[in-house]
């Protein structure tokens, strides 16, 4: 059993309440460096809420969250970018900017860090090659299929070389082949040393791997 002191993500008695409805209830868990963890459960179980808490998309009502040694409660709102630059986020609805090309969507991550254009070009082309979408760099997101858009979203999540990837139902809108492609890309990135937290209710996907599964129901971890 790994010691909690080595955990990259630590949640201690975390709760989140919306008005009178509890979304997350008293969750304590650790996720370690280079782990690939599934976060599973039915719709409304609290998977998305838990991920949002981890990237400061939501505040917690109670408890403590530490990511790479940073106590999230101590990060002021205007410094949230410091945490988010360590995390790559993938959404079920891709969240690509429709008015920007594939290249521009990915480059945005590095531009926001103030990096030079030559470096950005090199990195974006590299990550596009990795996801197999280099020939579509001038395309706009709406001209791509769901699977292609999700590949771009993965490329955007990876381009900043974050330690952690949070994937919120990334295969939820995709067909079987596209879902498999997405999963393979994340597995490949995981092999490079990243920590992946993959929220899904796809039981087949979970069944076919040996990764740890955290099962949520009604906001609580089920054992």
């Amino acid at each position: 059993m790994k010691s909690g002191d080595n955990a990259l993500i630590r949640m201690f008695r975390v709760s989140k309440q919306y008005a009178s409805k509890p979304a997350i209830v008293n969750i304590t868990l650790d996720i370690f460096q280079n782990e690939f963890v599934f976060l599973s459960g039915p719709s409304g179980a609290g998977k998305s809420t838990l991920l949002k808490i981890l990237y400061l998309g939501e505040d917690i009502t109670d408890g403590q969250v530490l990511i790479d040694g940073m106590n999230l409660a101590r990060i002021p709102r205007h410094r949230a970018h410091m945490l988010r630059r360590k995390i790559g986020i993938i959404f079920q609805d891709y969240k690509l900017i429709p008015g920007k090309t594939v290249y521009q969507n990915i480059a945005l991550v590095l531009e926001a860090k103030g990096l030079g254009q030559r470096f950005i070009q090199k990195k974006v082309h590299s990550v596009l090659r990795t996801v197999g979408m280099e020939d579509r760099k001038k395309s706009f997101p709406l001209s791509l299929s769901g699977g292609e858009q999700q590949k771009i979203a993965i490329a955007r999540a990876m381009v900043g070389e974050p330690k952690i990837i949070l994937a919120d139902e990334p295969t939820g809108s995709l067909d079987v082949d596209a879902a498999e492609n997405v999963f393979n890309l994340l597995t490949a990135y995981h092999k490079h040393g990243a920590t992946i937290l993959f929220a899904t209710h796809d039981k087949d996907l979970i069944r076919n791997t040996k990764h740890r599964v955290i099962f949520l129901d009604h906001g609580r971890v089920q054992f």
Binding site: A80, R84, K95, L96, K100, A112, K113
Partner: protein, 293 residues
């Protein structure tokens, strides 16, 4: 990074051409009105100052004043601090001057049996004392001298003119204040509309680690550019109007020896920079609210 922000700002302006065109034209009209008032004040102040430069106080002696009285009065006047120059104008000299000025109506003066004009001292005021109040105070003092019948310095006309200028000034300031507020809200509203239309994009930018500065800088640049463009348009409009008016009324202005100047380059730059500062403030108001949410 500044280059990137400028590029984004220009892209935004291009993406919202219609909205931004309306903003620029509206600011231009505001600037046109405010700078028209400014131009009016500048020229009327210049006119007032040139009149003040040439201001003469005429001290009319009593009809029964003797030579000794005249010398006494001269001595008294010379003691006054505000006087730069003092010239005696005899009644004979005054009549000759009048005949000269009224050459076309000389017949009126030919039949005069007696010179109706009094002896007078013409006083040129020192520079430091040319304000209307100072001249009025000097005139009141001179009136108390024994041999003085009357003191004239064009007080009624200048006072009336100054009063009218002050009214225009007050109206100008009030309008200027209103247009300042209007321009502020126009810019704030334009930025707010752009922010609203791009709220999803901004949310994504935040999620990928963009700072508030990275997000807001292009908007500030956009606000500055729109204000500068609007102000430049307003000043160009004013110049065109100025040229049209000058060319139409050139003859009248020449006859009246009036010279109407346009704004100097420094004044134009002040107008444009002020407009840009107002634009910046408008952006700040919108962005502050947006970031809070």
């Amino acid at each position: 990074m500044i280059t990137l922000f400028v590029k984004k700002a220009l892209q935004d302006i291009s993406d919202n051409r219609f909205l931004n065109a309306i903003t620029v034209v509206t600011i231009g009209l505001s600037i046109l009105i405010i700078s028209s008032f400014s131009l009016f004040f500048i020229n009327t102040n210049a006119l007032l100052n040139s009149w003040k430069q040439g201001i003469r106080v005429l001290v009319y002696l009593k009809s029964d004043a003797s030579d000794a009285n005249r010398l006494d009065l001269r001595y008294q006047l010379q003691q006054l601090e505000d006087i730069q120059d003092l010239t005696f104008v005899s009644k004979e000299t005054a009549l000759d001057k009048l005949k000269n000025q009224m050459r076309n109506q000389s017949a009126l003066l030919e039949n005069l049996k007696k010179n109706p004009l009094p002896d007078a001292f013409e006083i040129r005021i020192a520079d430091a004392s040319r304000e209307l109040n100072a001249v009025a105070a000097l005139a009141e003092k001179i009136k108390t001298f024994q041999q003085v019948a009357e003191v004239e310095y064009g007080q009624h006309f200048i006072a009336r003119f100054s009063h009218i200028i002050n009214i225009f000034k007050f109206v100008g300031y009030a309008l200027g204040g209103l247009f300042f507020v209007a321009t502020l809200f126009i810019i704030a509203n334009t930025i707010r509309l752009v922010l609203y239309s791009r709220r999803e994009e901004i949310e994504i930018m935040r999620l990928v680690g963009a700072t508030d500065r990275f997000i807001t800088a292009p908007f500030y640049i956009e606000g500055l550019l729109l204000s500068a463009l609007g102000a430049t348009l307003g000043v160009i409009g004013l110049f065109i109007a100025y040229q049209l008016i000058i060319s139409k009324f050139q003859t009248s202005l020449s006859l009246a020896s009036l010279e109407v100047q346009f704004l100097t380059l420094i004044q134009v730059l002040i107008i444009i920079v002020t407009s840009m500062l107002v634009g910046l403030l408008g952006c700040f108001l919108s962005l502050k609210q947006f970031l809070k949410n």
